[in-house]
Subunit: 396 residues, 2 copies
């Protein structure tokens, strides 16, 4: 059989990260390539207790069909927490529970973007989002970043000269892969630009609560008084990614359309785990749980940075992260990190080359992404040693 695929999907390839992750199924490979939280961060004991209770008392409803909007107590608790703690959500907004943050990105593209419409993205950016945009034949334009986030001058010039821009896609806090945090001043200015040029903002923020240094910067959505910002949140990095629970807080007209998209996509998100998440929020202190995760990631990040300082001989540049999961590294100009990562792979340590996060996947770049949340301290030590060995001959 020769299948003729739709135009929207025919150019889409499996993501490079997923392919690299398959290599890491070899247990002798040390992976700095993942985007996974530490398994020690899952509140398994609390979840086990709640699950046993649901099976004992509420199995008939937990295993039955639910509504597409999401399990109501979880919607309510999520909205309440995001409002009280982060001032996210206004009376014109509504909350939708999704099958992970990824589903917010995919469905928002589906309901907003016609083929050929433009989405402005940070450069580099999250491959899962870029591929979701590509899967609807959106045209992606990358906006460069510095340590304070998107370059807003380039953004404004692009908005001035580009037709059919549907939204600006940003991960403003602990950006994937760069780790950058957009400054408050830029967040305000970004929102102003979105108002001026009448485009929407998709604020993708799965990491923003994982801060272990520096000062809190409020979400762009907390500044939104008109409904122009769509906030995509996730319980993946603070409870468990395997359960696939995320959420969207956005203007209710938009959430109504997203709910229709959700109905035809998967009807609703796994109801049993929506109930687990809701009861966890009711009974346990999620903030205290997150604080423990931050301590863990802070110490792993510090260890990785200290070892790089000690062993890489100044050959790799990076900025010390203040939160999130990633360290964004760069070889000296002119080097190709794809080639470097292939070489380290042969020595059984893997990172992700920066081209995987590029709007142009064939870009040659000296950058690569290192993850410090998943590997243990021992693995960090061994992995950095192995990388230092490769670097010694690789960069003279």
């Amino acid at each position: 059989m020769n299948f003729k695929f739709s135009e929207r999907i025919s150019t889409l390839q499996p993501s490079a990260i997923r392919e690299i992750l398959k290599v890491t199924q070899d247990p002798t490979v040390i992976s700095f390539a993942a985007g996974n939280p530490a398994p020690e961060s899952f509140p398994a004991a609390e979840m086990a207790e709640i699950a046993a209770e649901i099976f004992a008392n509420d199995a008939a409803s937990a295993l039955q069909y639910g509504v597409s909007e999401g399990y109501n107590p979880l919607r309510t608790l999520t909205a309440k927490r995001m409002k009280e703690k982060y001032n996210v959500g206004r009376t014109f907004d509504d909350t939708l529970i999704t099958s992970g943050g990824q589903q917010v990105i995919e469905m928002l593209t589906k309901v907003l973007v016609n083929e050929g419409d433009v989405i402005l993205c940070e450069m580099p950016s999250f491959i899962g989002a870029l591929n979701a945009f590509r899967s609807y034949n959106a045209k992606l334009i990358g906006i460069p970043m510095d340590d304070d986030g998107m370059d807003l001058e380039v953004l404004e010039r692009t908005l001035q000269t580009t037709k059919n821009v549907k939204f600006i896609y940003t991960i403003p806090t602990f950006q994937n892969p760069s780790g950058h945090v957009m400054s408050l001043a830029r967040r305000k200015k970004l929102l102003e630009l979105a108002e001026t040029y009448n485009v929407l903002i998709l604020e993708d923020s799965p990491y923003f609560e994982l801060r272990f240094a520096g000062e809190y910067v409020p979400p762009i959505k907390s500044l939104d008084e008109t409904g122009r910002v769509i906030f995509s949140g996730s319980y993946s990095k603070v409870l468990s990614p395997g359960m696939r629970i995320g959420f969207c807080i956005a203007h209710k007209d938009l959430v109504a359309k997203l709910t229709v998209a959700k109905q035809v996509s998967d009807v609703h998100t796994n109801l049993f785990f929506q109930m687990i998440a809701a009861r966890f929020l009711e009974r346990h202190d999620l903030d205290a749980h997150i604080a423990k995760i931050c301590t863990l990631y802070g110490s792993r990040a510090q260890l990785m940075c200290d070892l790089i300082d000690e062993k890489f001989d100044g050959k790799v540049r990076y900025v010390r992260p203040t939160g999130g999961l990633f360290l964004w590294c760069s070889l000296p100009d002119g080097y190709d990190a794809m080639d470097f990562c292939r070489k380290t792979g042969e020595k059984k340590v893997v990172a992700v080359p920066g081209s995987s996060f590029s709007v142009d996947e064939h870009e040659v770049t000296p950058t690569f992404r290192m993850n410090y949340s998943l590997p243990s301290e021992d693995q960090i030590r061994t992995g950095i040693d192995l990388m230092a060995d490769v670097l010694k001959d690789y960069v003279k």
Copy 2:
């Protein structure tokens, strides 16, 4: 804010069934409107035991990210069972785990159908599928049915005269809403027509194992030696719908594209429940469990039919179902079931008017769908009495 939605989704409305289901949240309303399995059919005790064990021994992997293709033991067990028991799957096929059968339908449309392409559907058909097709601006053409399934003469004329037909959508066994089973002769002929006119077949079969009378008819996919048939299956009606686990067995080239679509859609399906389903299949006798469900539904269907025969005074026609969840009813010609269902709703008993399953949602039809899997015997008795009361004056 005024949002400008994409062309593909702007005409899509929330499904009438979902809106009716909201009315049924009133606990005093007897619902024959659902498509839900009986909660007594969920193997909650077995699942609770497996869940406790996973939390105790495998929480770190069960709560972590998984792969988009699905949890490997579940893929393997599903493929093995479908092959050994139903001869579904060839060496050129592959298996993908999805977030319910609905996701197979949505993603298949995404990867195959360009805007304006044609999908041929049974008339009437499952609203969730029709809306998924509509959400990609597919053009739907309905093919009438008789008791043996699709009218293949009309189908062939349509194939002869219609351009850009991508696939034929069929629920061949215990069709939703009609309950019809396509005869084996028609299944063979349908496959021949698909070969002749070079179109694919989406065989949606969430109910086919729920037979309580009559003779087994093999899936169309079991006859497929070329990879032209995509089989969409589901654990919703045999284990639990709330967990959202379905599967697709199709040619591996197609499954590869669907896997890319799955990556950008929700990354993967809830991993914990994939593990529960796999261990259930390993340790328990799913066939015996399904046999119990069939006995339950058979007796509820018989009760509903017997009471209709006794109390509806011949005013409602129907065919005794041999499996599945639904009884397809018809008022005398000229009556509008939408109006009738509104009237019964006022008396606190609800069914779904046939127009909800039509390619043309504004069609006036005397048909309506009754569900017998969810209501208890008492509810069936009371609900049929209430309907009989309405009928008495409604049809003279």
